[in-house]
Amino acid sequence: MSWGGQELRAFHRVLDSLGNLDYTVEVVPLGDDISSAFGARSTRPPDLVMLPQPGLVPRHLRDLEPMPAGLARRSALWDELLVHDGTTYGIPFKTAHKSAIWYRPSVFRAAGLQPPASWPDWLTVNRALAQAGIRPLSLAAGDGWVLTDFFENVLLGIAPAVYAGLATAAAPRPSRQPQFAAALRLLGTMWSAPGSLAGGVQRSLVQQFPDAIIEVFGHRRAAMVLASDFAEPVVRQFAADPKDVGLFTFPSLAPGAPAPVVVGADVMVLRKPTTDDARDLVRRLAAPAAVDPWIKEGGFLTDVRLKGYSPELTRLAEQLAAPGELLQFDLSDRLGRLGDTNGLRRVLTDFLVKIGGRGAAVLPEAVDAAVGQMREVEG
């Protein structure tokens, strides 16, 4: 698995609650090196992998065993990634809602504002907050995935079909899509607005998502932070005022259009060849009640449950289950090499450095540069 720190401890609690097992479970944290669980370089391959990039499943079918039969039916959303030729190769263990924005309601109240209902609305809110002397956004650019999540929401919001096309293409070429540049322009409008980023670009670059959360809720220097549901324990741990915590979901990009929802997951997959013990463990972990300890700690969503969460996470769970939502998986996972540290993440980081807080005048040139850079990565 790729978890560390609090998440790892929570998972240990889940394992402890499974009761007596006939076998011992050794937890192997692989960090960002998770793809090595399949690689030739893997020295002692784990039986059961909690894969944080479900987009990798279709590429590793050869290495995977089918899931044991008789598990709870998951939402059809997953079939695209996890079911091939009628065989299920993975079961989502933990779902990530990547379109969540945590904010401080007190600041909004003081400025007489409501959480934004649309993208233009959000830009207005940011301006109003900046005028009231509060930096609207704390951006965790130190974690590359925060930038890609931001971008994916915008792209999904303006061009769902293009997004879906890129996600499923064998050789995706994002830079060829005019909507790619359009999404960059929209995103750039927010990031380049003077006074929008807490601490400016330099500060954003050294912030990981917990730092950004502490800026908003601990040191109270900013109003909002884009962070998934799993940020919940960090928010609660560091909030100066536990009651002053709010959450809204990514607004629609145009009034009336559906709001984008980007989904990620840690998916359980079994490596070939597997054992009965490993199958048994999957069965136990897939039971909806198994994850109770983690849900109690917060920062955990699963698509087989709608209840038991904090009010904020309940809303996220309901949005994930609601029909007709604009739901899509994390694009950067599915772009493979193009989406990783040297691909989209790098492009967006450089884009942010070029425009952050500098006003809309620098936008056209920066968008062109970013598209060019993406084209270079595509080769």
Partner: protein, 590 residues
């Protein structure tokens, strides 16, 4: 001699025999060669994978050639090479600074008692820990980061120290913090060993100031300068974990060094030939530095004298004036405080709860307690401590058992001169070989042998990696024992016990130095565990690394884990430091 026969008297005259009495070469007993066998076997743990890497680097789809080295045309790789060379400059700068600090402490004797422990502690902790410490110090939030807080208080606002460009300051300070103590201690030992009559002669001739430096200290310290420069430069070229832990994600690319570039290439699935070529280039740089350094050492005219009898203190240097002592004392206190400060920050952060450490700096009085330590214990720290202790002990034991007979063989085993030279050169090159050179094939081999995650395998790799340095050091010590004394002891013409006591006095520091350095090096290791061991061995550094991935949220836990991880090496090195320095410097004959 007279012979009489058949009435003749013959005079027989003898003459000195010249030339060999028996044709052929002198017979050398083969027995001692067996002493080198274990070392040969252990070295194969490194030599074979190194060979595999070299072959992979030169193998192209159509035969052998330099095709894979086209990877060096890659701008990212070139950038990494440039950064690695910058690190070499940093190392040279550090040696110069360390030299002058040692000179200062020599001229102002009051300084030493304070300076020594303050300088040793950073050397004892792992690179990972010093990276963590400096990341805490330079944290961008004025509530948490000491430097940012002080700067903001003085000038209103503070630059983002970990940001683009400025992260170099953090990296170089962390590196300097770690290594300066080693540099100063070794130079200081060299200065102390300069015979008083030489100093007095120079003084009587009226040579002072810079001229004295050029005439006396610099030439006499040349051998030690060689050893120091070699160690620090090799450490600088090998910088790896420091960048990984101290530099935030978006700046990682501009901080890239060759070793890291290699690692990124391996994990992103680049062809084996290209990554092997990167490893070979890194190796070539380090080996060149190593061999040049050793050649420099050979051209010296003066060796560290071995003190056979303790000097009479009354005959030592004249006592410095009261004023000099007072200045020395003050300077000592100030420098020591500055130097020990990062360690204080680390311990104080660890003594705050995770919440308090994430929100406020180490100076904050709220949230004091041991809950960060409890959190670290929950993260598997205790198991990792045990695991690390086992690995480090096993590696040290294996190393001593193999290095001592080998060093004896090389020093006195009667190896033909050419073979001795070859063996020493191989060990010098092996001693500086970067892990990247053997990591990939070794990892595959360990996996194929079903030994992945085995502590024994990891301990063996550590012992093999430590062997070259240990043999070089022990051989110097063995060779430095005055041969006359040794033969007298063996033939019984002097009182054996007294002589043996002298001999033993020359060996013991080197033995202790090898054992202490190997143990703490294995204890503090990150890169071997990270690149070679499979999951399951869980050395300390990997636990620390895992916790540090979300730095701010877990800074209390990370600091606590770092403190726990550092206790053993700090205690070990503090208690044995003077012996270790003696072991490192005594008769270091290359």
């Amino acid at each position: 001699m007279e012979l009489q026969t058949n009435g003749l008297t013959l005079e027989v005259v003898g003459r000195e025999v010249s030339g060999r009495p028996v044709p052929g070469r002198p017979r050398r007993p083969a027995g001692p060669y067996l002493l080198g066998l274990p070392a040969l076997l252990l070295s194969c743990v490194l030599l074979i994978p190194i060979g595999v890497t070299v072959v992979t680097a030169f193998r192209t789809p159509d035969g052998f050639g330099f095709g894979n080295f086209a990877v060096m045309g890659d701008p990212a790789a070139l950038h990494a090479v440039r950064n690695s060379l910058l690190w070499v400059l940093v190392a040279f700068g550090l040696v110069v600074v360390g030299f002058f600090l040692a000179l200062l402490s020599y001229r102002l004797p009051g300084l030493t008692p304070f300076l020594q422990p303050a300088l040793v502690v950073p050397f004892a902790v792992s690179v990972l820990v010093s990276g963590v410490t400096f990341r805490l110090l330079f944290d961008p939030a004025p509530e948490r980061g000491t430097v940012t807080a002080v700067w903001s208080a003085l000038f209103g606002s503070s630059p983002v120290w970990l940001g683009p460009g400025l992260f170099w300051l953090v990296l170089v300070s962390a590196f300097g913090w770690t290594w300066l103590g080693y540099v100063v201690s070794l130079f200081r030992a060299g200065l102390d060993a300069i015979p008083d009559d030489v100093t007095r002669t120079i003084a009587a001739e009226g040579v002072t100031g810079w001229r004295r430096l050029w005439a006396l200290e610099i030439p006499l310290l040349r051998p030690i300068t060689g050893v120091v420069t070699l160690t620090v430069v090799v450490a600088a070229v090998r910088v790896f974990d420091l960048v990984l832990i101290a530099v935030p994600g978006p700046m990682q690319q501009s901080a890239d060094v060759l070793g890291l570039n290699w690692w990124r290439a391996t994990t992103s699935g680049d062809p084996a030939g290209r990554t092997a070529a990167l490893g070979v280039v890194l190796f070539a740089i380090v080996a060149a530095v190593g061999l040049i350094g050793v050649r420099g050492l050979r051209r010296r005219r003066w060796a560290m004298p071995v003190p056979v009898a303790r000097q009479d203190a009354a005959l030592g240097r004249p006592k410095p004036s009261k004023r000099a002592r007072r200045i020395g004392w003050t300077a000592g206190v100030v420098v020591s405080l500055v130097w020990i400060f990062p360690a204080v920050v680390l311990v104080a952060t660890a003594l705050h709860s995770p919440r308090a450490a994430g929100l406020r700096g180490w100076w904050s009085p709220s949230g004091l307690g041991l809950s960060s330590f409890a959190d670290a214990a929950n993260a598997g720290l205790l198991r990792a401590l045990l695991s690390t202790a086992l690995i480090a002990t096993a590696a040290t034991a294996v190393l001593l058992a193999i290095a001592v007979p080998t060093a004896y063989l090389v020093a006195w085993g009667g190896l033909p001169a050419w073979l001795g030279r070859v063996v020493m050169s191989v060990f010098v090159v092996l001693a500086v070989t970067p892990v990247q050179m053997y990591a990939a094939p070794l990892r595959d081999a360990i996996g194929a042998a079903g030994l992945a995650g085995s502590r024994v395998a990891l301990a063996l790799v550590h012992a093999a990696a430590g062997l070259p340095f240990a043999v070089l050091l022990l051989r110097s010590a063995f060779a430095a024992a005055p041969p006359a004394l040794v033969s007298e002891a063996l033939q019984g013409s002097a009182r054996q016990s007294a002589v043996l006591a002298t001999v033993q006095r020359t060996y013991r520091p080197a033995l202790i130095a090898v054992a202490v350095l190997e143990f703490s090096m294995v204890w503090n290791d990150f890169i071997v565990g990270f690149l070679i061991s499979g999951p399951g061995t869980t050395p300390l550094s990997l636990v620390l690394w895992g916790e540090a991935r979300q730095f701010a949220a877990s800074s209390g836990t990370v600091a606590a884990a770092a403190v726990v991880a550092s206790v053993v090496p700090v205690v070990l090195l503090l208690s044995f430091w003077s012996t270790v320095v003696r072991g490192l410097t005594t008769g270091s004959k290359p």
